[in-house]
């Protein structure tokens, strides 16, 4: 359909191009050259990217779950940063693939490239079995921030939870704009891709640098508070088949690992409360459940109100608005876009009608986005009312980025390493490790 349209356009174009000067008849034996058309990157190289992704994920699983070595994970991270970041210049990436998937689902005429499908699905499947190994050692954006983490400070739980909601908003907005075919905001506002390309929009570079500076003290701010793919991985990781275990044996509850985690992902034991803590907190749960539909409706309403502002991301709406402003004398002069539109001689009414339709769809989409966000909020509330039980220090399945930092802090793990490295452990050295 679109191809047909573009063929039509081209036919029209050739007709519209004015041959002011007829092409010459050469008397000499001059032959007209053809314009060079260098081919794009060979498609099998996309396959190489997928194979590298699969291999990196597999190695990551081995390093986190079997070898349990931070240094190895670190090296894998550096490799991924170099390959996916500086060599492949940050494209294609799993985070951005969300948008291609949304567009493919919303628009049947968009055929999503297989490479992108693989980049979207492989990390999800790995996470469903092994936790967020992708975040630990394969994602170049995560690697960029992880390398900058020098002096981690812990931030309060309430702040961490509140900031974490931003990622849901970002995910919702990214899916929305991609599905509407208006913009790929994850790519447009990717804060680190400019570093990979050593070039980029100054505002985005400022954003990236600020995030890296914050990242000196707050571990991986983009991953934890903004990354839309991280939201999906968070929930998949909570259902993962094998979890990242901090200690190889019994936990001594020494709390060292909790202090060591720069991402606030290790939670203390909940303690016994006469079995009481297994019952949900009804006093809070019932209001939370009642509030759920109200919250969904309220957020839906708020976002639908904002829908017309969202629609300005769309080219047609933006252009129509400019045209109206110029027609009513509220804006002076023309922009490149409005001038080109007027020169094309298309009727303004059609454009304004198209823009109106898109705006209506955005109001609808605002309801959906708002309802989604309301659902997230109430889900968080309900989760707070449900009991949690941990006998030992454990990594939160969702938040744990599988970075392998905590392992070497665990006295039990150190003991295990010593045993595996040397001959039988003497009583003295064991005591020294435990103390």
């Amino acid at each position: 359909m679109t191809e047909f349209a573009s063929v039509l356009q081209r036919v029209a174009l050739i007709a519209s191009d004015i041959q002011r000067f007829p092409p010459p008849d050469f008397e000499s034996d001059y032959t007209m050259p053809l314009p060079a058309t260098p081919a794009p990157r060979a498609p099998w190289l996309g396959g190489v990217d997928v194979i590298v992704l699969f291999a990196a994920l597999s190695v990551g699983v081995y390093l986190v779950h079997k070898k349990r070595s931070r240094l190895s994970v670190f090296l894998l991270m550096v490799f991924s940063l170099i390959y996916f970041g500086f060599y492949r210049l940050g494209c294609v990436c799993a985070i951005g693939s969300i948008q291609n998937v949304s567009l493919a689902i919303a628009n049947p005429s968009y055929a999503i490239p297989l490479t992108v499908v693989a980049f979207f699905l492989l990390p999800l499947v790995f996470t469903l079995f092994f936790g967020r190994v992708f975040c630990a050692g394969v994602c170049p954006l995560g690697a960029m921030q992880d390398l900058m983490l020098i002096k981690p400070i812990s931030i309060p739980v309430w702040l961490q939870q509140a900031l974490g909601l931003l990622a849901y908003l970002y995910l919702g907005a990214a899916v929305l704009f991609a599905a509407m075919g208006s913009a790929f905001i994850i790519c447009e506002y990717d804060p680190f891709v400019a570093f990979f390309r050593l070039n980029g929009n100054p505002n985005i570079i400022i954003l990236g640098v600020s995030l890296l500076i914050i990242g000196l003290f707050v571990g991986r701010p983009y991953c934890r508070f903004l990354c839309p793919y991280g939201v999906i991985l968070h929930h998949f990781s909570r259902l993962s088949h094998w979890r990242v275990t901090i200690t190889p044996q019994d936990c001594h509850q020494c709390q060292i690992c909790e202090e060591a985690c720069p991402f606030g992902a290790i939670l203390p034991p909940t303690g016994e409360q006469n079995g009481q803590h297994w019952a949900p907190d009804k006093k809070r749960l019932i209001p939370a459940l009642i509030l759920t539909p109200i919250l969904i409706a309220f957020c839906g309403w708020v976002f639908s109100m904002a829908g017309s502002s969202f629609s300005k991301m769309d080219y047609t709406v933006h252009l129509a608005e400019r045209i109206v402003l110029e027609d009513t004398g509220q804006a002076d002069g023309t922009t490149d876009a409005s001038k080109a539109f007027r020169d094309s001689g298309q009727p303004g009414e059609t454009l304004i009608q198209d823009a109106q339709n898109i705006m209506d769809r955005y109001v609808m989409a605002g309801w959906i986005l708002g309802a989604f966000f309301g659902l997230v909020l109430s889900g968080k509330m309900i989760r707070l009312c449900l009991p949690d039980r941990r006998d030992d220090y454990e990594a939160d399945r969702g938040d744990c980025l599988a970075c392998a930092r905590c392992f070497s802090y665990c006295p039990q793990e150190l003991k295990r390493r010593r045993i595996s490295r040397t001959a039988p452990v003497t009583a003295g050295s064991e005591a020294a490790v435990e103390s």
């Binding site: 191009d17 041959q19 002011r20 053809l34 794009p40 990157r41 498609p43 469903l128 390309r197």
Partner: protein
């Protein structure tokens, strides 16, 4: 505490069920995407019929040297002596002196073919995709010069930065088997 064990079992069961469900959903999504997907990749290209040669291509590309270059469809070219893409308006003289040239980098090579015809060839290593010559050719000549994404340079970003900045949405995704939208040509590869 039998109660607790029951609760634990139930939790475990729910978790396993959700794990299975997540696997199913992932499988379903992959099936759906597999149906909609294709091995053929998309690439960005400029539709010359929409391009107004505004100059954004020169500055908005993520590469330091833009992946967009000027292209000449020779079959449409008038081989003019006074080429309005090559010369400044009202040039002092019709020769390749820098003061006469419109191109800020001198990327157009003017070669004498036969009286009164001259060939105009773009030196891509010098072209910065400012579109000055494109405008000149379009407004006063045959429109044989136009801008195209050169795929040996383009890194094929998921979202092309020039496409975001383009005032006429001239940048579109095209299939790999038709990566150029050349004027006056059958564009099948």
């Amino acid at each position: 505490m039998p109660n607790q064990d029951n609760a634990l079992d139930r939790r475990d069961l729910i978790k396993k069920g959700l794990h299975g469900l997540a696997l199913l959903v992932t499988g379903g999504v992959s099936g759906f995407l597999a149906e909609r997907s294709q091995a053929n990749s998309y690439h960005w290209q400029i539709d010359p019929s929409k391009c107004i040669a505004c100059g954004n291509c020169a500055t908005y590309c993520v590469l330091e040297e833009s992946a967009v270059k000027c292209v000449n469809t020779y079959a449409m070219c008038g081989y003019c002596n006074l080429c309005t893409a090559f010369f400044e308006p009202a040039p002092k003289s019709l020769n390749t002196g820098a003061e006469n040239q419109l191109c800020p980098t001198g990327a157009i090579l003017r070669t004498f073919i036969e009286e009164p015809y001259y060939e105009y060839k773009i030196d891509e290593s010098l072209c910065i995709a400012c579109g000055k010559c494109v405008k000149g050719c379009k407004e006063f000549g045959n429109g044989s010069l136009y801008l195209q994404v050169r795929h040996d340079r383009c890194v094929n970003c998921n979202q092309c930065a020039i496409a975001v900045a383009c005032p006429t949405q001239a940048l579109t995704r095209v299939h790999r088997d038709q990566p150029y939208l050349l004027k006056g040509m059958d564009n099948k590869a």
